[in-house]
Amino acid sequence: MKNAIEVENLTKYYGNLLAVDHINFGVRQREVFGFLGPNGAGKTTTQRMLTTLLEPTEGRIVINGHDLAHEAYPVKRKMGLVPEESNVYTELTAWDNLMFTARLYRVSHRERTERARDLLEAFGLWEKRDVKVEDFSKGMRRRLSIAMAIIHKPTLLFLDEPTPGLDAQSARAIRDLIRQMNAEGTTIFLTTHQIEEANQLCDRVAIINHGQIAAIDTPERLKRAFQRVQSVEVALEPGGNAHGQALAALPGVTTKIKMGDKWRLYTEDPSALLPRVMDYARSKDVRVISLSTLGPSLEDVFLEVTGQQVGTVRHEAREGGSQGQGRKARRGGQR
């Protein structure tokens, strides 16, 4: 079976700035494909090219056997797009927003009224169907934006950062919907920097950095390929916070990160580090409250692949509010 998306040598320049650098990848039919990368890495630019919103400088995109440069129409009919910002018409009601989109996709009157009702009920917006969207919360707008993207039952759905900024309930509902649509046969292209979300949802992920594909595989295989970012997590008492420097100095520790009342010690060999940690605790006469070994998380893989020191981004996130903000400034932000 041919791939849902086939990308060959895709390149995008904004003036002299190379945003996407000759990338190649394929997305299989009925796959949830995660597209990860720090801000400004080229994720949104790539997605905009895949959804016909931006013309590539070079390269070829084939979707369901159609070359996007010459046969965009049949692709667009079967494609849904949920952009990062909920692009709903705030002056219209939820119902009118759905009807407008359905008409654009030439969904018949009977089908669009049935489908709109189903979607509004499924997203908990039925009671608000006649309310102007300007009075909706961010989560409600997001849900409506997704409903608008799938009212024509697309076989390929692009989602750009679907859950950031949403409450846990809305985020979970959206993740459940992605799973359900995928189970019903929709191919999902998920652009995100929510690494845990990608880990939970995606069959495969690609990590893009500086406009190039840095890694592409299943989350588990990627984790296995990065065994050097295994870690030992330890909580000591009393004075747990005071032991950071000493723990970091233990042989085999590459990086330390404070995780609440615990220390995470990155190492290539957790089994060798465990007894050293126990010896240290005994020598200092402190109790080990908890001690565990952790395999590499997808976030660790992401940080390794994107060349960011493990731990650095977490601290930036706490201080600055979101991951990799420094990168966005350096690369000129997303377009």
């Binding site: 910002e85 407008f100 030439r106």
Partner: protein, 255 residues
Amino acid sequence: MREGRRMVRLRDEIAQAWTVAVKDVKVYYLTPPMIMFGLILPFFLFFSFSIKRDIGVEVGLARLLALTTFFTASSAGPVIIPLERRMGTYDRLLAAPMSLITLLLGKTLVGTFFAAAVSTVPLCVGVLVLQAAVADFGTLLAGVVLASLAFSAFGLIFASIPTRSVGSIMMPSTLVRWPLMFISGIFVPLKEMAPWARALAYLSPLTYAQDLMNHAVLGVGTLNLWLDLALLSLLLVIFLIPAAWLHRRSRVLGY
């Protein structure tokens, strides 16, 4: 078979252009920039240059109709498209299964709706309150519709400027539109112009709209009525071509 598919596609594209236009009318008819540039401005300009001047009601009506169609229709695209780019809703339209020309036709229709609606205000006041006599209502209707279509497409050329700010489009748009108002036989009739000024006037699309309004309201124009109608129809096509090319160019730049 292939012919049948083409017909279905054509029918779909017409319906989609209509859908875009109706949505825009619902969403943007009361936005502040639309009220400012599309509704207030033409009346302000008319009264600025016509008050305390000895012109008949019919002459004033013909001028005001030409100005309202011109300014209102040519403001729609430059107001709506950057607003949609800023809200991200323009992406929704670009990603929909319709051609760029269909989208631009939809936007052209919006300007036409607005201009036709605004034109009814001076028309009603002129005819019902000031007892102005309109020579030919059929020609007037055709003139308002054709001129609005052409000027709306004219506005789309400015709307292709790759920006998300209405102000960034309105500045160059005003720079071009205002001088046209003075060279198009609105305040100085074509017949009274020097030959070089008249040659300049023929380059302005507004000249043909004003002459058409003169035919419709006064019953007499300087140019042939059919020439005015034909040229305005042709201008619709002529303006849509660069508009489409420039909008495609904006897509290369990421707008």
